[in-house]
């Protein structure tokens, strides 16, 4: 019973946390874009415009809910749901802090600590495309279907280097369990560098980041949306809260991907060179909170990176995206995997 209540608290807590982050991100995105482009951006609602997401939410909720006459009603309504669910569920296996021990009971700061966390993440990553393609197909609009098709092609191409790059990390730490990967990043490696994935797998990290931007349909790979080419692609026909769910799902996706980046490559809740557990005491509440805050700090940097890159890089052409995916990223990812296995084997023979 106690276990159930704790799990429920964690689920609700993390769910509202991601929702909150996504809401704030809509504001950060608009404000950041504005400041990069030398204009002030939304700055009227509340202090520095921080209440803007609330206003947007009210606007989207009160708008008329239009379903186009020729659209497939079922698929049209299913699209946003199919898009949002994988985005939210991916957070279930990501550890957002170490553990708290209360009265001899161990509470992991992670919704569910499953051994195949990695596979779960990759599987959900590919599911996200259904929301886009179903929405595009259901709208019965040529631009929407074009956006959906582009998204499919892009996801198929970029899922491969994405997964292969992550596989490198799995090889280095020798586990599919996300919590164990996070735990293994404590301490240093080669004497000077923190034992983080990014230092074990610099090439893998770059490949992962590029593929992650493509996964999230963000600029420079926002071909499924591409306002200037196919008028917002798959969500052209959507309005009111259905559009809101799509836009929101995108930010939830970004949050998940940032959290993944931190977990796999940036030492999750660990500070470099400092072993927090040893001087805050492993399992104390303060340690739990501190580890959560450090995790949040790292995630917020990557969230900002998504915004920053979006307003720096122009969109790729479609053939360029495909060329980059198949001719550069996949061979490099395979190469990375090869080198990693080679080093692990050499280490095994020398050390073992």
């Amino acid at each position: 019973m106690i276990d159930l209540i704790i799990a429920l608290i964690k689920v609700v807590g993390i769910w509202s946390f991601t929702l909150g982050v996504a809401a704030v991100m809509t504001w950060v995105e608009r404000r950041g874009a504005a400041l990069i482009q030398d204009r002030p951006g939304p700055n009227r609602a509340g202090l520095f415009g921080i209440l803007q997401p609330v206003c947007d939410g009210i606007k989207l909720f009160t708008k008329e809910n239009i379903v186009p006459e020729k659209a497939d009603k079922v698929l049209f309504n299913l699209g946003p749901i199919m898009f949002a669910i994988p985005a939210f569920s991916a957070f279930a296996v990501i550890p957002f802090g170490d553990r708290i021990i209360i009265g001899g009971k161990e509470i992991l700061l992670q919704i569910s600590n499953i051994d195949i966390g990695f596979l779960y993440i990759v599987a959900l990553g590919s599911l996200a495309v259904y929301g886009v393609i179903i929405g595009g197909w259901g709208s019965n609009n040529k631009y929407s279907i074009l956006g959906g098709l582009r998204s499919t092609a892009q996801l198929i191409s970029y899922e491969v280097p994405w997964g292969l790059a992550l596989l490198g990390v799995v090889l280095v730490y020798g586990t599919f369990n996300l919590r164990e990967i996070a735990l293994a990043q404590q301490g240093t490696f080669l004497g000077i560098l923190p034992n983080w994935g990014v230092f074990h797998q610099p090439l893998g990290f770059i490949l992962f980041m590029v593929a992650a931007y493509a996964e999230a349909n963000r600029v420079p790979f926002d071909l499924p949306e591409a306002e200037s080419e196919i008028v917002s692609g798959y969500h052209t026909e959507y309005g009111s809260m259905k559009l809101g769910v799509y836009l929101f799902g995108e930010y939830v996706n970004i949050t998940t991907l940032s959290a993944l980046t931190v977990t796999f490559y940036f030492g999750s809740w660990h500070l470099p060179y400092i072993n927090m557990a040893s001087f805050l005491g492993d399992g104390t509440i303060i340690y739990g909170i501190a580890s959560f805050l450090i995790f949040c700090l790292k995630v917020s940097f990557f969230l900002w990176l998504f915004v920053w890159v979006r307003w720096t890089v122009p969109r790729f052409r479609y053939d360029q995206v495909m060329k980059l995916g198949w001719k550069s990223l996949i061979p490099l990812a395979l190469f990375n995997l090869f080198i990693t296995t080679l080093f692990i084997q050499i280490k095994y023979y020398i050390g073992g």
Partner: protein, 192 residues
């Protein structure tokens, strides 16, 4: 004839994108930082390219063509004689003038022998060309500085005589009248 396609040669650094993207990101960060700190400075007009409208407004040129006003002379007499020239020239046909003789005992109010009893400009049709101002023989009508002309009803967009005069008084009080026109030199060898 199709234009020949020029293949741009990319160096190795260019072709792996990353270095160029980093350079771009440094540039955008510079802009971001500048505007970020600028937006914390007090005062409405801190980000140089944007005017935060109701709080700070742009300077308007003294010869701006905005809301009309009916002019008075130095003694405070109405200049308009109700001749209807402006109504005639107006390309949008939005002026209606009604002429009337100046009544006995009211000479101090009007500069001429006649005056306009009613004067109406339909702002919904006006295109702010300024022909009325140019053609008026008495320089009795001018386009002022007012540009906030949106109203809730159609009736409020009709510029009556009252509002035209009010515009003049406002402009005079705030020193927003146009600088006096330099009269074009008359040819001197004009034969009688």
């Amino acid at each position: 004839m199709a234009k020949p396609v020029v293949e741009k040669k990319y160096s190795f650094l260019d072709s792996i994108y990353l270095f160029e993207i980093l350079k771009g990101m440094v540039l955008t960060m510079r802009h971001f930082m500048f505007n970020f700190f600028a937006s914390f400075r007090p005062g409405p007009h801190t980000i140089p390219t944007t005017w935060q409208y109701p709080e700070d407004r742009r300077e308007i040129s003294p010869i701006f063509r905005g809301e009309h006003m009916l002019m008075l002379d130095e003694q405070g007499r109405e200049l308009c004689v109700g001749c209807g020239m402006c109504a005639k020239i107006c390309p949008a046909k939005c002026i209606t003038v009604e002429m009337a003789k100046v009544k006995e005992g009211e000479e101090s109010k009007y500069a001429g022998k006649t005056h306009c009893k009613n004067f109406n400009i339909d702002l919904l049709r006006c295109i702010f060309c300024g022909f009325c101002e140019e053609t008026c023989p008495k320089s009795a009508i001018e386009l002022g500085q007012g540009y906030e002309l949106s109203r809730f009803t159609k009736e409020e967009c009709q510029l009556g005589k009252e509002r035209l005069l009010k515009n003049y008084h406002w402009a005079k009080k705030n020193n927003k009248l146009k600088p006096k026109k330099v009269e074009a030199e008359q040819p001197k060898d004009k034969k009688e």
